[in-house]
Symmetry: C2
Subunit: 352 residues, 2 copies
C-alpha cells in the first residue's frame, strides 16, 4: 500500500484556532495558469507628496494639517466604518431571522514613517520599534474603552490598500468580532482540556519539529502554521505567555522588531517584489474583558499574503473556498522551507 506523502496526497488539516478545516492538494501546483494576473507593485513612489493625506504637513479632508512628524503619526480615520456620534440601537427585532444589534466603535490610522517610499522591512530596527511601541499605546488607550481593538495592515493595492504611504489601521469595537469569538472559544476549550494555552503548546511543538519554522530569535518565532490557508501565510508568536501587546517587555519589543524585519525581508525576497498581505494582531480581549480570566489566550499576529506563484499570480479564494471550504495548493512545510531558505537581507539592500 502507498505511504502517505502530504506533497502528493490530498488531505484535510484541522485549524484549532478557528475550529475548521483546510483542504491541502499540493499536486495542484502543477497545473498551468492562464487566468488573471496582477499588476506589479508600484515602484517609484515619491518620498513626499503634499497631496497625500498621510504625508507630514499635508492637509486632510477635514481641513486638519498633519504635523511634520518624524516617526509614527496617529489620527482619526477620515472615512471611518464607525461614526463617532455613535449609533442609535436598531431596537427590537422584527423577526428572529432579521436580527440587528448596535455597533459602537472607533477608527484610527497610524503612519509608520514620514516617507511614502519606505516599507517596514526597509526601516531601521529603531524605527520599527517605534511602531511597536505605538501599537502597544493604542491598545492601552482604546483597550480601556473597547472590548476589541483590531490593529491591521493592508499592504499593496491587491489587498485593497488605497494609499501607498506605509500605515496601518485600528478599528476598535464594542463587540467581539466573529474571528475572535472563534479563537476565544477554541483557546478556552483547549486550556480547559490540556491545562496549557493552545498557542504555548503549539510553540513547543514547532520548536521541537522545526518543520514549519521560517525565522526565530530569543523571544519570537514565525511559522507557517500547520493549518495555513493562504499560500505563504505565517503566524508570529512570542515564546513567553503574553496576553496583550502592552505586556511585551523591552527586550521582547526589540525582538519583535528584529523578527518582523527578517520575516518581511524574506517575504519581499520571495518574488523580488514588495510583498502584499493583510496582517493583524490578536490577543486577549480588552475593555470589560480585562477583569476576566484570559489565561487561555496567547498574543499572536497573522500574516495573510495572497501571492502564490509569482509577483503577479495570486491564489483565488473563490467558488469552492467561499461555498464549501478553503483549499491550498502547497503544503505548509513546502511554504515554510521556501521562506526559511531565503535571505534575511532585503534584496534591495544587497550590494550587487
Amino acid at each position: 500500500s502507498v505511504v502517505f506523502n502530504p506533497k502528493e496526497h490530498q488531505h484535510i488539516r484541522y485549524n484549532p484556532l478557528k475550529g475548521d478545516w483546510v483542504l491541502v492538494s499540493a499536486h495542484r501546483m502543477k497545473r498551468p495558469w492562464s487566468g488573471a494576473t496582477e499588476k506589479p507593485a508600484e515602484e517609484n513612489i515619491a518620498r513626499h507628496n503634499p497631496n497625500n493625506p498621510l504625508c507630514p504637513g499635508a492637509t486632510r479632508i477635514n481641513g486638519e494639517v498633519n504635523p511634520n512628524y518624524e516617526s509614527t503619526f496617529e489620527f482619526d480615520n477620515d472615512f471611518p466604518v464607525f461614526l463617532d456620534d455613535g449609533a442609535p440601537s436598531p431596537g427590537p427585532n422584527e423577526h428572529p431571522l432579521l436580527r440587528a444589534e448596535s455597533a459602537v466603535g472607533k477608527c484610527r490610522v497610524m503612519c509608520f514613517h514620514p516617507w511614502s517610499d519606505i516599507t517596514l522591512p526597509l526601516m531601521s530596527l529603531a524605527e520599527i520599534r517605534k511602531v511597536i511601541d505605538q501599537w502597544a499605546d493604542i491598545m492601552l488607550d482604546l483597550g480601556s474603552r473597547f472590548k476589541w481593538v483590531q490593529i491591521f495592515e493592508n499592504k499593496g493595492k491587491i489587498m485593497g490598500c488605497s494609499n501607498p504611504h506605509p500605515h496601518c489601521q485600528v478599528w476598535a469595537s464594542s463587540f467581539l468580532p466573529n474571528e475572535l469569538k472563534l479563537e476565544d472559544d477554541q483557546q478556552r476549550d483547549y486550556y480547559k482540556k490540556n491545562k496549557i494555552p493552545m498557542l504555548m503548546d503549539y510553540v513547543k511543538v514547532e520548536m521541537e519539529k522545526k518543520e514549519r519554522m521560517v525565522v526565530e530569535n530569543a523571544y519570537w518565532l514565525a511559522v507557517v502554521p500547520y493549518w495555513a490557508t493562504w499560500p505563504f501565510e505565517t503566524m508570529l508568536l512570542p515564546k513567553r505567555h503574553i496576553l496583550r501587546l502592552p505586556d511585551l517587555s523591552d527586550e521582547e519589543r526589540d525582538g519583535l522588531a528584529d523578527i518582523m524585519k527578517k520575516l518581511l525581508a524574506k517575504y519581499d525576497n520571495l518574488f523580488e517584489t514588495s510583498f502584499p498581505y493583510s496582517m493583524g494582531w490578536h490577543g486577549a480581549p480588552t475593555g470589560t474583558c480585562m477583569q476576566e480570566d484570559c489565561t487561555h489566550w496567547q498574543l499572536h499576529a497573522h500574516y495573510y499574503p495572497p501571492l502564490l506563484r509569482s509577483a503577479s499570480v495570486k491564489k483565488f479564494m473563490v467558488g469552492y473556498e467561499m461555498l464549501a471550504q478553503v483549499q491550498r495548493d502547497l503544503t505548509a512545510e513546502q511554504a515554510a522551507k521556501k521562506l526559511e531558505e531565503l535571505s534575511e537581507v532585503h534584496y534591495k539592500l544587497k550590494l550587487s
Copy 2:
C-alpha cells in the same frame, strides 16, 4: 433621541445560516476610492477556439478529444484537487495540534453551451433548462457516492476563472466541508426550536416584507439576504420545501431557468458588464446522509459577486474582514432596490 436609520447608522446583522455577524456601515459608500481598479471583463471572445480545451472538438491535456457537443458537456477535471487514485490515510496524528484526515473526492467540469462567447443570461430558457437538468443528474450520480457534492461557477477573471468558456465545476467529497457543517448545524437548531425549516420561514418573511426581493416567479425568489456580505449578494430560494436539486419538479426547473435568466440579466445590467461572481448550490447532504432525516434543510443557491461601485471597483475583503469580521458598505435593502429596479432584459439584447 435619534431614530435608527440603517442607511446612516452602523450596526451588525446576524447571519442565521452561518451563525456569525456582518458589520453594516452604509455611510461608507461616500468615501472616495483611489485604490486598485479591475480590468474590464473580456469582450470579443471568439465563439470557437480549437485550442480552448472546453470547446467542442478540442483536444484536452490528457489527449481526449471533446465531442462536438450541442448543449451541455461534462468531463473529469484535468487538474483536479482530488486525485482519482484516492489518497492513503495520513495515519495517526503526531500531536493534537497537528491533525490531518484523508480526503477522497471527485472533480468534474460542465460546459453550459458549445459557444465560448455566450453566458447564462444570454442563453435561451431551453438552454438554461438543460444546464439545470444536468446539475440534477450530477447530484444524483455523485451524490450516490459522496457526502457532499459542491456545484459552483466562478465567473470572470476577477473570480479566478481561467477559461472564458461558460462552465461550472463540481467537487464532490467524502467529508462535509466547513460551510456546510455550519449551515447544517444552524438549520438543524432552528428546526428543533421552531418546527419549520429556517429557509422556509425566511421565504415567508421576505414574501411579506418585499424589502429585499430582487425578482420572483411562481416557484422561486431571489433576495439580497438580510445578512448579505458581498455588496450585491443574492440567494435563490424555491417556494416549496425541497431538499436537493434532483427533487425539483418539471415546472420548478422551468421556473428556475426563468428566474436565473432574469437575475443574471439584472446583474449584467447593473454596471453594463458581464457581471463576475462565484455561485453555488447548497442542499441537504448526500451519500450516507440520504438515509438520515434532513427535513431541516432547504435547497438554495448563493451568488457572491465582488463588484461594489462600478465594473472596475470591487469590494476588498481584506484586513479587518479577514482578521475580525466581514463588513459591507451599503445595506441589503439598498442593494435589493437597485437590482429590483433594473430591467429583466439584458442590455445587450435591447434594441437601441
